[in-house]
């Protein structure tokens, strides 16, 4: 079956005064219709840039993005507008992702207005439907964002993303700014919407418990590269890459009888500007040896659907 969305060697570089910043480097994966790919990593790993590149808010430096088999990497003009109707994004910060001076009804209607196909009454009706779909009281339609709490604001952002019935939505840390009890509400909403509407997600986050719950497949990123990718549950039960292990061991456990034993990582994140060849995790890896800094690490399928980019993977595990 043709995957809904596919990336092939996708790269995004930015020119900065110090050189070339490799935000996303050579990323390839597929996502099937109705499924969720979780993308995890810490600051500077490129996950947000990846999301924005995939929906064409940024233009890729290299590689390809295919939507339903069609290459959308460099389309522009009318074709880009058509593509934008099918791919959408929900942002992290419910405070800055809504226009503070726009009433939420207008925010939700705007994608429909831009498509130019709807009459005034249709717009109003569609906005109401969307508000009900995401669980906002329609009596709040004339509110300004600052009058609503974080959870409701995020729902507005979700309604806006759903307005044109997109096939693919990038969720960029959609619950990270919300309180714990509200997070669960919004996550349930996203999953229900997926069940109801068959929408495909790419869920970007740094929160590993959340990503485990919502994703079918997870890919772990470090400094612009994918270091491990596997079905969701398997990543947690048998992580293979040293970085994934370090990441999982660093999560503070709720089990008070189990003290944390985080895998010690040396030093700090290295710079994504003009990266050296070889493994980017090398300076911090507890299993590093000399060969690691010379050879670029390629994603290798170690077990079914489980890919790792580490040439020492078999020795370590």
């Amino acid at each position: 079956m043709l995957p809904l969305i596919e990336t092939r060697n996708l790269s995004k570089y930015f020119r900065v005064p110090a050189g070339m910043l490799h935000a996303v480097d050579n990323v390839s994966f597929t996502i099937e219709k109705g499924k969720t790919l979780g993308v995890v990593g810490e600051s500077g790993c490129g996950k947000s840039t990846l999301g924005r590149t995939m929906i064409r808010l940024q233009e890729a430096t290299d590689g390809h993005i295919l939507l339903n088999g069609e290459d959308i990497t460099h389309v522009s003009g009318k074709k880009l507008k058509e593509v934008r109707k099918k791919v959408q994004i929900v942002f992290q910060d419910p405070y800055s992702s809504l226009n503070p001076r726009q009433r939420i009804e207008n925010t939700i209607r705007e994608p429909l207005k831009n498509s130019g196909n709807y009459s005034r009454s249709e717009l109003k009706e569609r906005a109401s439907t969307l508000m009900e779909l995401v669980g906002i009281d329609t009596r709040l339609r004339q509110s300004y964002p600052h009058e609503l709490d974080g959870g409701r604001r995020q729902r507005v952002g979700i309604a806006r993303a759903l307005a044109l019935n997109p096939e693919f939505i990038v969720c960029d840390e959609p619950v990270s700014s919300l309180d714990v009890s509200i997070q669960a509400q919004v996550l349930n909403l996203l999953m229900d919407l997926q069940d109801q509407m068959g929408v495909t997600y790419m869920f970007v986050t740094h929160d590993l418990s959340v990503v485990r719950h919502i994703s079918n497949t997870i890919c772990v990123m470090y400094l612009g590269e994918v270091v491990e990718m596997s079905p969701s549950k398997e990543l947690f039960s048998s992580s293979l890459h040293p970085y994934t292990k370090a990441l999982l061991s660093a999560i503070p456990s709720l089990d008070i009888d189990q003290p944390m034993r985080p895998l010690p990582l040396k030093g700090e994140l290295t710079s994504p500007i003009n990266p050296k060849p070889g493994c980017r995790f090398f300076p911090r890896c507890p299993y590093a040896e000399r060969g690691c800094s010379q050879e670029p690490q390629k994603l290798e399928e170690i077990s079914a659907q489980h890919y790792v980019a580490c040439h020492r993977v078999r020795e370590i595990n």
Binding site: V180, P252, I256, L265
Partner: protein, 327 residues
């Protein structure tokens, strides 16, 4: 009060704080009382707007007045009531006896002053150090928090988030305070850096015997660092106990809700169990129990009157009419 023991180091009694904004009054802290022994770590857990930061800032008396107003309460540090201190006396306490670490390391440091100078400033304020002596002590502090002493003359913008937070910790511990208030110290940090910083805080606590109040909404962090936990909701402590009381034998429906709404690493549930509704408007708190509109176990008694904190087992308190003790 909570525990009838003698070496009580910090005692907060009946703290009440409001914020006035025009005609509206925000009831931020509504009658909070707790005690701490020396060397203990107390976790204040709650969601945004629960009042945790206000409690910490009240102890240090750094709440801006207006709009904040402390309506009443006592804060006894080693027997003396901080509420009755003059500003001059408080200046001696801040930084020296009580220090605070804030959430955002990006804005906690002065961008125009080198890191070394910022630590020295605190040292010289509370001690009679000369310039050279203070510089030496500052370098030792940097080393203690895991920063190369060569970075003494660098500016904050040259440090990453995690490193900045270490500098902040070094500054806070410079005068070996007896009490450390940490307001979401690792929330803005990556999870691997968080692990390092928590480890650092734990080690330093042991080394200096510092008592600590850790404010956070992350239950995992609480489990790994705190001895006692107070769960705050709408400006009141609704459950208090040892780590075991709260993580294993929790009783209050809100605490239940918090744990239930967390996605688990071990169990697989198709849908999460969130707490319905959202935090109440602090200018219009519900009658009776502030949680009752959202509570799945609500009964008639919950809607009226003052709900008191009751001891449900040794040292474990809960403010609820319909306690749902787990296990």
């Amino acid at each position: 009060m909570m525990r009838n023991e003698n070496n009580v180091f910090l005692s907060v009694r009946d703290l009440n704080v409001v914020y006035t904004s025009g005609k509206k009054i925000v009831h931020a802290v509504n009658g909070v009382s707790f005690e701490m022994k020396k060397g203990e770590t107390l976790g204040l857990v709650g969601e945004t707007g629960a009042g945790k930061t206000t409690i910490a800032k009240s102890i240090l008396r750094i709440l801006p007045d207006p709009p904040a107003k402390v309506l009443g309460g006592e804060i006894l540090l080693d027997g003396t009531d901080l509420m009755k201190h003059s500003e001059k006396e408080m200046l001696k306490i801040r930084g020296e006896k009580i220090a605070m670490i804030f959430q955002d390391p990006m804005t906690a440091l002065n961008p125009l002053v080198t890191v070394g100078d910022q630590i020295i400033e605190g040292l010289k304020l509370h001690n009679d150090y000369g310039e050279a002596e203070a510089a030496q002590k500052a370098k030792e502090l940097l080393e203690m928090v895991g920063i190369h002493t060569e970075r003494f003359k660098e500016y904050p913008f040259e440090f990453s988030g995690g490193m900045k937070q270490r500098v902040v910790i070094a500054m806070a511990l410079a005068c070996e305070p007896e009490l450390l208030l940490a307001d979401e110290p690792t929330t803005a940090l990556d999870v691997t850096i968080q692990a390092q910083v928590l480890d650092l805080i734990n080690k330093l606590k042991v080394k200096y015997g510092t008592s600590m109040i850790l404010i956070t909404h992350n239950l995992g962090v609480v489990a790994q660092t705190c001895d006692y936990v107070a769960v705050i909701y709408a400006g009141k402590i609704i459950e208090y106990g040892s780590k075991k009381d709260i993580f294993v034998d929790y009783a209050h429906p809100y605490t239940h809700g918090l744990f239930a709404s967390l996605p688990s690493f071990s169990k697989d549930a198709p849908r999460l169990k969130p707490i319905a509704g959202s935090m109440p408007d602090p200018t219009r708190l519900p009658q009776g129990c502030a949680f009752h509109p959202r509570c799945p176990f609500v009964i008639e008694d919950c809607r009226n009157g003052e709900i008191l904190l009751k001891e449900i087992s040794q040292g474990h308190l809960c403010r609820c009419c319909n306690i749902q003790q787990k296990g």
